[in-house]
């Protein structure tokens, strides 16, 4: 009986295929690839843990200044995350309203031809490398600031914030456009057939429907903003003081890491502190992204339902 089954033609053909091999190799690639994620997370957290022999969490986040060369080293990152919040806050303040109106334009008003030009343009804007943005800000905004505000150097939280705004805006536009496009077209036609203006339909029906999706996009843009490195590094001014005003210089978390990492030796407290700063950044970004990914389907259903 069993020999009969084993010699059945279907059986033999199966034995000849590459399937088991391909199956195994592709699975292996997937497992290795995805495990780099866990490797990074665990490794960063493990290296970061070393800092808490030197300072407590509250000192690290809130009280100590950053003087790694002091004896013993003083390792606080208050100035860095305050700068990060400032820069990202300015960026969102500019990019969110502009981005939402732009998305409304693309989804609700623009003729197809205009839309087909505008969207690739924004894609290019999103693709410009961070370091090029930093350079562009340096030769435009920073120079203008020196003239307008009579500053000795124009690098500032504001300059960094404005450039990061340009960087996250295309992202806000694309997620908001996606959310608006998910609202069924029939709402627009039926709404307009009641003799109201397009704006009224948008305000009463379409925006409320798309709002959760737009909100998710803004939160994700925040996560991108705080992870932005080169532009913030080149434009914020690399100052260790806690910034108080828009035109003060500052140093974002990413700027701190990028500035100091090259000079930190493995195993030192400074090295651990830089990893702790990275861990703070990483956990925040993963929490935001993970959270949004988990509820994303529900958000899209809200728009369509």
């Amino acid at each position: 009986m069993s020999t009969q089954v084993a010699s059945h033609p279907a059986r033999r053909l199966g034995g000849l295929t590459l399937d088991p091999l391909v199956w195994m190799l592709t699975l292996l690639a997937l497992v290795i690839g995805v495990s780099t994620f866990f490797l990074i997370v665990v490794y960063v957290l493990w290296q970061a843990a070393g800092v808490f022999g030197a300072v407590s969490l509250s000192e690290f986040l809130l009280f100590e200044p950053w003087v790694p060369l002091a004896e013993p080293p003083r390792l606080g990152i208050l100035h860095a995350w305050v700068s990060t919040v400032y820069v990202t806050g300015i960026a969102l303040l500019v990019a969110v309203p502009l981005g939402i109106v732009m998305a409304l334009f693309i989804a609700e008003i623009a003729p197809t031809a205009v839309r087909n030009v505008l969207q690739p343009c924004l894609e290019v804007l999103a693709g410009i490398p961070s370091v090029v943005y930093g350079f562009f800000g340096y030769v435009t905004l920073v120079v203008w600031f020196e003239h307008i505000f009579d500053m000795t150097t124009g690098v500032s939280i504001l300059a960094a914030g404005l450039i990061v705004a340009v960087m996250v805006m295309p992202f806000i536009v694309s997620t908001a456009t996606e959310a608006l496009d998910a609202v069924p077209r029939s709402f627009r036609e039926t709404g307009m057939s009641l003799g109201v203006t397009r704006f009224y339909v948008i305000r009463r029906i379409i925006l409320p429907r798309a709002l959760p999706g737009i909100f998710a996009g803004i939160v994700l843009a925040f996560a991108r903003g705080i992870g932005e490195t080169l532009a913030a590094l080149m434009l914020a001014g690399n100052s260790l003081a806690v910034p108080k005003e828009l035109l003060d210089r500052g140093q974002t978390l990413t700027g701190l890491i990028a500035t100091e990492l090259g000079e930190a030796a493995l195993g030192t407290e400074k090295f651990a502190a830089l990893f702790a700063a990275s861990a703070v950044l990483m956990l925040l970004i993963l929490l935001i992204n993970g959270g949004i990914l988990l509820i994303k389907n529900r958000l899209l259903r809200h728009a369509q339902g």
């Binding site: 295929t17 109106v101 008003i109 693709g127 490398p129 961070s130 562009f136 990275s278």
Partner: protein, 287 residues
């Protein structure tokens, strides 16, 4: 009559709102068009004046280094790290996408894997740099080298290529897959003969975009691969110059803004090349 007047009055307010909104929206649209055009135009205009054959084909010279000469080693270095990164990330991501879309049995498993992939994609570039520096450069002893930088960029590109390829595979119509499988051939055969050719434009588009992004990304190679100056041509275990870090050095050390414009020009050209490739491929895919 009284009723008609009332209606007109309120209508006017709403109509004015509508006009204001319309105007704002077109203004935003104009900004969305002009902002990229002016930024790119500004950089290309200034960069073009610097650009010459010698800028591309010569090594940096002068003191401080970079005030004259060219950026050849930076171009070579960027190609080396990105090339190595692609050589690692592309097969791995493609294989992973094949597994997820063709072999995986449980939808739950696929969802979980996609979730972690997207989390990996969300990690900012600087963290890859930090990890690559500590783990590859220091802990593994690879040193600041093309190898460390390439592997770091591979981690950066892997999730992007994976997600893009996965959706390219998924876009292939179910009936095509099923009718091919119903001929009694193996899955591997179906993948090679029908799925790969169909999905290829999408896969290449995702790969080109990921590579274009990686070329311009300074943060991951800043500590893993790049140095301010090299003389030798790139090899696996030696450090290199790269375009984005070269641009960063030129600006942050205020070496030469002229050469910074030229370097930015080359980076923007890479970006535009990658984007137009991807757009053309996607266009072909739609047909």
């Amino acid at each position: 009559m009284h009723k008609a007047e009332q209606l007109l009055l309120n209508n006017r307010r709403a109509v004015v709102n509508d006009r204001v909104f319309w105007l704002l929206a077109w203004t935003a649209g104009a900004i969305g068009l002009l902002l990229p055009l002016s930024i790119i135009g500004y950089l290309l205009f200034h960069g073009f004046q610097v650009l010459s054959w010698s800028f591309i084909s010569e090594v940096p010279r002068g003191y401080p280094l970079g005030v004259s000469g060219g950026i050849l080693p930076a171009i070579q270095g960027s190609l080396a790290v990105t090339g190595l990164g692609l050589a690692v990330a592309f097969p791995a991501a493609l294989a992973s996408a094949i597994y997820l879309s063709e072999y995986a049995q449980s939808q739950r498993f696929v969802a979980v894997m996609r979730f972690f992939t997207e989390c990996l994609a969300a990690i900012p570039a600087i963290l890859f740099g930090v990890f690559g520096y500590a783990f590859l450069v220091v802990q593994f002893g690879f040193g600041i080298s093309v190898l460390s930088g390439g592997l770091t960029l591979a981690m950066l590109m892997y999730p992007v290529i994976l997600v893009g390829s996965y959706s390219a595979f998924n876009a292939v119509e179910r009936p095509l897959k099923e009718s091919a499988l119903s001929l009694g051939v193996s899955r591997a055969y179906v993948i090679r003969r029908t799925l790969l050719p169909k999905a290829l434009p999408g896969i290449i588009a995702a790969t080109v975009l990921a590579a274009g992004h990686a070329v311009g990304s300074a943060a991951p190679v800043l500590f893993t691969a790049s140095v301010v100056q090299t003389r030798s041509s790139p090899s696996l275990d030696s450090p290199v110059m790269t375009l984005p870090t070269h641009l960063y050095n030129l600006v942050s050390e205020a070496v030469s803004f002229e050469h910074a414009y030229g370097t930015a020009f080359v980076l923007i050209a890479c970006l535009l090349f990658a984007n137009s490739c991807a757009m053309m491929l996607r266009h072909r895919l739609r047909k």
